[in-house]
Symmetry: C2
Subunit: 343 residues, 2 copies
């Protein structure tokens, strides 16, 4: 980066389906100055998440849409560049909801907190293991799913940042863990790198497998049914799992990445199985667990320290590569928590 | 009926989509005799329910499919015609899971219980108000939905047997109650006969309204969002309500009648709103509440006795009319709990 300029990755057109390169524009301007009571943060690591795709749509959600002409909203880790707030000094490491840009203006009252980077091997860990990803995996499984040792857990999007942690935490809790992912290499990682009991590839040489074929593979892998479905994908993959729920199954609905770029939502067709199995689907957002973040972060950090939990990061480099980096979420290319290092 | 013969309404072909008249066959045979330890019940009233459509499919469910050539499984109220079981005497009134036929053979251990018809104005009440319908409405709302006074309840299929009771129980519990039904006359009944606060017609002159239009009407009726959705319909109607959930909404998934005759399941496309609103969908079957049936039946009976709960029955007559009677469930013609009087 040039320390005299601020590059900002702007949303200039709402994507229709898959985001196109020219839905965005990299603008170069002056480094901003801190407002009264606020500060300017120099971003070092930027979190790239499926949720950002939703914020690009003009649709009712838990946050307002990103305004056209604004930089794409993102969680970032950075250092305080200028401060007019007595609680923050220049050089402090901070985590906050900012944007894909070199420098972010933080107004008073915004969601920004100081972080202790001495306890992690990289500040980017605050975007993965001990950040929203790790807390989502932790609370989504340990709390929302009400797991009991010996039960069968199936994770979709299992090789993703959240999925790979959910599966590992499942093993720590004594569950039998099956992961669904796309491609032989991801399936190999699930079993060999993350310790899943089984991996199912939802693709074959012809592309995504039909629901019936995938359902039959799940039935073979989980003959007693799936007690807990940790759902990150939606669409046909979710439909195939729904055909294999155990009685009183719990579905933690964490994400629907198969839908985010679909101009027409795919949805699910096997909802009737939720009645038949007296199952429960819980819509999960980490926002509901803010008062317990310290507890969750401590548990995750301890498991990592004990070598029981492996958290991979897929670090992409350069703000100028923001579009290509973001698209790795949807092509299935990412191999861990996707992070953009600003540099 | 001819007391010397037994007419049986057989499933002779599995329906593809909407059941056709010749998927069934009315067979006439001899009156059966009671097996050792069992009995023969003469059916007087036969319950016709959406669930029966599901039992006709060869698909995994909470009960095995009806075998081809067997009479269509149904809950019936009748009198003991012949008994080889010391617990039942000829003439006793009983409720049981039997079939659409004049006489049913009850084997030992089957689900059959004596009923006290002196406390109801018609034995058919055991198929409606104090039967599975009433208990579904009672436990589905009072227990599964976790209602709090002042919340907004939306009921789909609101003019149906379960829906009309759910709405009335909602009013007893202090909820604001909105019903969705098809046609002006049903909507009039919701407000005038059942005391709903508002009714929304999902149809207009062109047929079913588009999801967006229906969603806008729901938004106007429930500007703070829907806290509880009691879902009997599925498909586009459910999708429209999902766009209007309040934060932490509860969806009691009781039925999906829009799907039962669809050769391809319609499903829902707005599942993402369940994440956004941190909502919960609970698949509901009354089977989970057997130990509390006495409590539920007493509560419903008391409300009826106090004149606070109105339960309509749509009594159709004659076993020979079983097909036409059953189809009233799907054409929207029925005006209360659908019951076939054998006669």
């Amino acid at each position: 980066m040039n320390p005299l300029e601020n590059r900002r990755f702007l949303l200039q057109r709402r994507p229709h389906g898959t985001p196109q390169r020219d839905d965005f524009h990299l603008e170069t301007g002056a480094v901003p100055t801190a407002p009264q009571g606020g500060m300017v943060v120099r971003n070092h690591f930027i979190s790239l998440d499926p949720a950002q795709r939703g914020w690009m749509d003009d649709a009712p959600s838990y946050m307002p849409p990103i305004a056209l002409g604004d930089a794409v909203r993102a969680t970032t880790v950075g250092t305080v560049h200028e401060s007019r707030n007595p609680d923050f000094a220049v050089g402090d490491w901070v985590l906050g909801l900012n944007a894909i840009e070199d420098y972010s203006v933080v107004t008073p009252g915004g969601f920004t907190s100081k972080i202790d980077v001495s306890i992690v091997d990289s500040p980017s860990r605050y975007l993965s293991a001990v950040g929203a990803v790790g807390l989502t995996a932790y609370f989504g499984l340990t709390d929302a799913a009400s797991p009991r040792a010996g039960e069968t857990l199936l994770v979709t999007g299992a090789a993703g940042a959240v999925g790979s942690m959910v599966g590992q935490i499942g093993k720590i809790l004594g569950l039998r863990v099956i992961g669904i992912a796309g491609g032989a290499e991801k399936c190999r990682r699930l079993v060999q790198d993350y310790g899943f009991d089984m991996a199912i590839d939802y693709k074959d040489a012809h592309g995504a497998k039909p629901v019936d074929a995938l359902s039959a593979e799940i039935a073979a892998a989980a003959p007693q049914g799936v007690d807990i479905l940790f759902e990150n994908v939606g669409g046909d993959v979710m439909d195939a799992v729904l055909m294999n729920l155990a009685l009183h199954a719990r579905v933690v609905l964490c994400g629907l990445i198969s839908e985010y770029n679909a101009p027409e939502k795919i949805g699910i067709r096997n909802l009737w199985q939720v009645i038949v199995k007296q199952a429960t689907i819980k819509g999960f957002l980490i926002a509901g667990y803010v008062p317990r973040f310290a507890e969750g972060g401590a548990a995750v950090a301890q498991w990592i320290g004990e070598g029981r939990l492996r958290v991979d990061e897929d670090i992409q480099h350069g703000l100028e590569n923001a579009y290509d980096a973001f698209m790795r979420l949807f092509t299935g290319a990412n191999t861990g928590k996707l992070v953009l290092a600003v540099e």
